[in-house]
Amino acid sequence: MSVKTLTRMALLSSVMMVLSYIERQIPAVSTVPGIKLGLANTVLLYAIYLMKPRHAWALMVIKVGIAGLVYLNGMAMLYSLGGGILSLAAMYLVKRIPGISIVGVSVVGALAHIAGQMAVAAWTLQTQALLAILPVYMALSAATGLVTGIAAKYVNAALEKSGWSR
């Protein structure tokens, strides 16, 4: 890994942490458990489109690890990891489909993230009660995915234009 890549990874990691922190300060979002805007996902979208896959995967693990230690407990960290893995895999898959832009990829990523979290939660807690709230979370993920996707679109465009991404 070149110094440039290393620096960029470090910077992106800290940006993710800041975004995680900021979205926790939005009362309407932070009071309902499990619901997040997913602002940090804009960074992963950036990595998916403008960096190598291994960098995107590393950023995801760093995000889960540090945000997990700072904001969550062990169990929630496990859910977060499940969501992160499924989300990133789904986003790479959907990105291959022609005609789908970063916004569509973001929506699928948000959906896969909640699905992954729910899957780990349902598995560890051995309960089906989560199925009842899954539809609500799914519909919300479409909305949050659109928001973060559109944000990522403009961020990527601006960063490319500035030459920071080269």
Partner: protein, 122 residues
């Protein structure tokens, strides 16, 4: 944003609607856990799933003893050393009875400071 992006978002919302119609109504309030509190405030003394039969004995010393029984998806105060025995007579809280009981999810023994609450999920 392309047309396909919009279709993906709409498909997700449609899928959510379908799932809601299937699961949303059937399992809305499945009681899953029982919290037991001793004294005032703070974390539960005990937090156990409703579907595992067990008896929890709480001996606070000074002759204050309560026994909570979880059996067949219901929880009750099986035994208490308190004078009025109201808690014992509050009956069984099940997923069904909690809907029309006066105290809802709760069984409370004020003299001994022991309360039981049924909660959805862990």
């Amino acid at each position: 944003m392309t047309g396909r992006d919009i279709w993906i978002a709409l498909a997700v919302i449609a899928a959510a609607l379908v799932l809601y119609l299937f699961f949303g109504r059937t399992k809305t309030a499945s009681a899953a856990y029982v919290n037991v509190y001793v004294g005032t405030g703070g974390a539960p003394y005990s937090h156990v799933p409703l579907n595992e039969d067990r008896t929890i004995r709480i001996d606070q010393g000074g002759g204050k003893i309560n026994e909570i029984e979880i059996k067949d998806g219901g929880v009750r105060m099986a035994y208490s050393t308190c004078q009025n025995q109201l808690c014992v007579h509050e009956g069984v809280v099940t997923d069904e009875s909690r809907r029309h009981r006066a105290l809802g999810d709760w069984i409370v023994c004020l003299p001994n400071g022991v309360s039981i609450e049924m909660v959805d999920g862990p």
